[in-house]
């Protein structure tokens, strides 16, 4: 079982949350090139290591927030 630390509600069972995924800076639609935009949409680092990712407290306070999770061991720490 994995506990996700919601900054609002505290640690809760992962089943209450929706995994949103890896984060990255969203390019500015006004200035971005098609290639940059598609890279942003489709490419993922997919690291087997610590990753910063977004989660959504679907069955709770409905907040979006960041956590740092190890994708191999499932350890979680607050994002540095």
């Amino acid at each position: 079982m994995m506990l996700i630390p919601c900054p609002n509600c505290g640690p809760r069972h992962a089943g209450e949350f929706a995994y949103v995924g890896e984060t990255g800076a969203r390019p500015d639609p006004a200035t971005t090139t098609a290639t940059e935009w598609r890279n942003y949409l489709y490419l993922r680092h997919n690291r087997a290591d610590w990753t910063v990712e977004r989660w959504y407290h679907r069955m709770g306070c409905r907040r979006y927030f960041l956590v740092e999770r190890n994708t191999v061991t499932h350890e979680i720490r607050p994002p540095s």
Binding site: T35, R38, R44
Partner: protein, 419 residues
């Protein structure tokens, strides 16, 4: 001394039975050569099939298949072995249909009993929306000459007598997409059959050999580094499924792939009662019965990206709940085993095959939850691609450059539940 490699046959079985002589190992071990014409990373069905067709169809035998663990230790030895070709896009249908054709002849081709059982495949519809998509799929299939039809709930009940088609069900069954050519196969046998056949043609299979680096000079691949030494090679194929982004990173290539675990489970064996594969997209569950009588269950991928192959209680609870909604009479069956494998998911639920921006570095990845059925055709097509330096027509739509061009394939409607 040259070893004599015997064929499997009734006569050989009798001879070994009488003489008690031990069987030869199915494939040999070798020292690493300092160079190979082609290096294939990943000893799953994709890597092994590619090696086999390179040797058989194109006479390219100076080939090494490298695996960090054991052959079939990835998704190829962990999947639920369902085969079908009722996809949604014409590109997908043509491709998977060729794979089924190869599967049908595989036992004879490899001299290995792969236990392909063409028992039919049912995808249940629990809503008007899914019935509509199924009609669409059936029409696309038929236009490509693939047998596929929408049937009503009575017909479903006739094919699967244990199923609950009453209106009381939480998700009543309105009908199904019936695909008679689909079925199941013995996944380990497919892996071992390809390995043995490739070995006989001279391919080197190296287990316990992890690729830790890929050398690129002037935009061209020159070789790989492994835990057992370096290998020079002008062609390197990445066929590492769930690990494919890590391997591509070694060559400086980024892939639109994310790794998700997929779990499966199997029950104790019982008398045969289920003669087709049954899938429910709405309930996220599917089931088939093996030749040994076990029920094999699968579901959707785990809800977050991960490289862990641990099973979870959430999965078994959800699975049991969903299976019993379909077939309440299975309530007293016991689960024997549960396991997980890694799936390389792409944004359009279609694979990525062919060249990358690094010359000589090819990919056969993005197989997600549905890549076992594609092993034979992907191997055949990748071997062709390597031998001729360009992708054959059949896989041209699956190139990596489709993401940069924004030409995604959209197989989600046909591939979203695992397998």
């Amino acid at each position: 001394m040259r070893e004599r490699r015997s064929r499997y046959s009734g006569l050989a079985l009798l001879r070994h039975g009488i003489t008690g002589r031990p069987w030869q190992p199915a494939w040999r071990s070798h020292d690493l050569r300092p160079s190979y014409e082609v290096v294939i990373i990943g000893g799953g069905v994709h890597g092994l099939a590619t090696a086999y067709y390179l040797a058989r169809n194109h006479g390219i035998t100076n080939v090494a298949v490298l695996d960090k663990g054991y052959l079939g230790g990835g998704g190829s030895g962990r999947n639920t072995a369902i085969l079908r070709s009722n996809y949604l896009t014409p590109e997908g249908v043509a491709f998977y249909d060729r794979s089924l054709e190869l599967y049908a002849g595989l036992a004879a081709d490899l001299n290995f009993n792969v236990m392909f059982s063409r028992r039919g495949h049912l995808t249940l519809a629990h809503s008007d929306a899914s019935l509509r998509t199924m009609r669409w799929r059936a029409e696309v299939n038929k236009a490509s000459g693939v047998d596929s039809d929408v049937i009503d709930a009575h017909e479903v009940k006739r094919l699967v007598p244990r199923i609950d088609v009453t209106d009381e069900a939480r998700y009543p069954i309105l009908g199904a997409l019936h695909h008679p050519p689909g079925g199941i196969v013995r996944h380990d046998a497919v892996v071992w059959g390809y390995a043995r056949a490739a070995d006989r043609l001279g391919v080197h299979l190296h287990q316990d050999t992890e690729v830790t680096g890929i050398d690129v000079a002037h935009g061209r691949v020159t070789g790989v580094r492994t835990t057992r030494g370096d290998i020079a090679a002008p062609v390197v194929l990445n066929a590492t499924a769930g690990w494919s982004t890590l391997v591509a990173d070694l060559a400086g290539v980024r892939l639109p792939v994310q790794t998700f675990p997929l779990q499966a489970a199997v029950t104790e064996p019982v008398q045969p009662f289920l003669s087709t594969v049954v899938v429910s997209g709405s309930l996220h569950v599917y089931v088939s019965q093996t030749a040994r009588g076990e029920l094999v269950f699968g579901a959707s991928v785990d809800p977050f990206a991960s490289y862990s192959t641990r099973g979870s209680l959430e999965f078994t609870e959800g699975l049991a709940d969903h299976v019993l909604q379909l077939m309440p009479s299975l309530a007293r069956l016991r689960l024997l085993r549960q396991w997980a494998g890694l799936c390389d998911m792409t944004p359009d639920f279609a694979p990525i095959m062919g060249h990358t921006e690094v010359e000589g570095f090819l990919v056969d990845v993005g197989w997600g939850t549905y890549g076992f059925k594609a092993g034979p055709v992907a191997g055949e097509a990748m071997a062709d691609c390597i031998a001729h330096g360009r992708p054959p027509e059949l896989i041209a739509p699956f190139g990596l450059e489709r993401f940069a061009r924004g030409r995604l394939l959209g197989e989600k409607g046909a591939a979203a539940v695992g397998h």
